[in-house]
Amino acid sequence: MATITLANVNKIYPSRYGDVHAVKDFNLEVADGEFVALLGPSGCGKTSTLRMIVGLENITSGDILFDGKRVNDLEPRERNVAMAFETYALYPNFTIAENLGFPLEVRGFDEAERKRKVHRIAEIMRLDKILDQKPPSLSGGEQQRVSLGRALIRDPDVFILDEVMSHLDANLKFQMLLDLKVLHRELGKTMIYVTHDQMEALALADRVAVMDHALLQQAGTRNELYATPANVFVADFIGEPPTNFFDLKIMREGSSLRVVNGDASISFTPDKVCSAKLSQHGQDDIIAAIRPQHLHLANGADEDTLSAKVHINEYLGERSILTLKSGSQLFRALVPPHTAAQRGETVLLGYNPQDLMIFDKDNKQLIA
């Protein structure tokens, strides 16, 4: 059982072509038993962060604390963390049983105890039929289960999972998501999960920490990330299909306020809270964002609407994505399947003003 605290953690890789600042002033607190996902695009520093937590990488500056105890200078084995690797990293010359038992063998458990634990883990991970085989003959999913089993077997305080699903196909991925979720619920251990796939992160984690360009952009529950993204990057990265962004200007009409584009073809009316904040904003140029999920075909009851021409209508089975065009601006709306909207047809879209997100044009931070 452990809480993990990262305080001003920095990682700088020296290189011949100048230092690479891979992680900048990273601050995060992971509660005991919490499942936190580190999410970000490739090269954002999430794996470096993770490797520092495990102890495979030196910390350039800052502190990592387990239960308030500084672990910067401890070896991985002294931190009592277990890790599952993206490439599985199984010992190719060991059988599955030996692979699972290796952490116990190293710790000097006797043969009988080892055997008992290996069989229990093999049962949990559904590996009991392949205990005598060697890793190269297993499928990716089986290898990953062995890797997880090997991490589980020695009852560590913290689980670190590094992109464990990136090599699995879609079906296996769903199975694995379920397995992991159940494991976490049953074990109640602190888990940190690194991924570049928002679906995995949102499905699994209690809290998601979004990283980009070596910086922690936002850490929060999926609702927080979804409804109040801290900046344009988070708003863009979280959500599928991607969020619509509009470069708009604030138009003040007496007491009310609207955000519109140059030729007034796109215009949104923010809600009261947002309007109040915008009216105090020093600058007129802003970025407005609304998710495709929050745009629907207007049904007459809507107060605020937006008209646009249908550009593409993609039917995806359980839903359709309309790509719409207004002036030169393209944006998307998620609509029910079988929506009969032909290319070129003009449609009226409704939205709830609360769903509108407004960002500062310069520093890209959320205003309201």
Partner: protein, 330 residues
Amino acid sequence: MSTGSGSYGAVANPSQGVPDWFAKRKKIPTNLIVARWVPVALVGLPVLTLLAIVIYPTIWMFYHAFQDTNMMRLFQSNWSFVGFENFITVLSSSRFSDSIWHLTLYLTFGTGLEVVLAVILALTLFELVQKPLLRTLILIAVVLPMMLPPSIVGVLWKFMLTPSNGAVNHALLSMGLISSPVEWFNAGVSLWSIIIADVWNWTALPLLIIYSGRVSLPPAVYEAAKVDGAGGWIVMRRITLPMLKEVIAIAFIVRFMDAFKFVDLVYVMTSGGPAQTSELPAYIAFQRGIREFAIGEAAAYAIIIFACSAVIITLFLKYLKKVLKAQAIA
């Protein structure tokens, strides 16, 4: 046209879509005869060379192993068929059985030591030396002896091992390890002198093979072991060495095959002496054929050596294949 000579003027603007330097390159004139015969010559000449220096002599050797050929009869062209007489002479001679014993010693303490040393040095180098430049420098230094021609190595070690004032005896005496000079080229010692020189000369080859094998092992496995809590010694014994098993076996096979054709150092350092106590099978084949003119017997020697090494190496490869199959690599 299928011979590839018809590219002239076939494309309206050949400079289109190709880099500038390519369009402006000097064009080599071709014609049908060149286009047709160049491939034949390119393949044919090496094949002819191979026929002349490998296949013909091999057939010649097999033929004369069953004749009573010696240098005199060869020039007079009047040798005759003697069946297996040459083989019987060779197999029943004590010179041959002695040389097999010498070969066994050489394989165990020469080849074997080379591979063991290579494993130790390669893994130490990999684990302890992290700076790339230093690594390269050390590798170059280690590989240098291998770059020297064996004849030079032989002369070098003959000098160093000279009993009266050689460098080795001098060093051992001044360190107080021996009280009187070691007679490095006496009966019973001379074979060991050859082995020492050979280990110095050839350890680098298995070292390079094993070092490159270690470099290519997946780093993630080592990180997993680190997280699992395995210390350096356990990692070495349970992970590194088993994963390098095949590479070490291959390094051994390469040196093992060399042992069966090992002539140069023996010839330069001791000429098999004194009293034939440092002769190895390949050296006797050379000695009997080239210096004692018994060509038929030398051919028989060569065939016996060939058969022995072929059998042993086939068994070895079979074992290797089984190991690889068990790991589902091959």
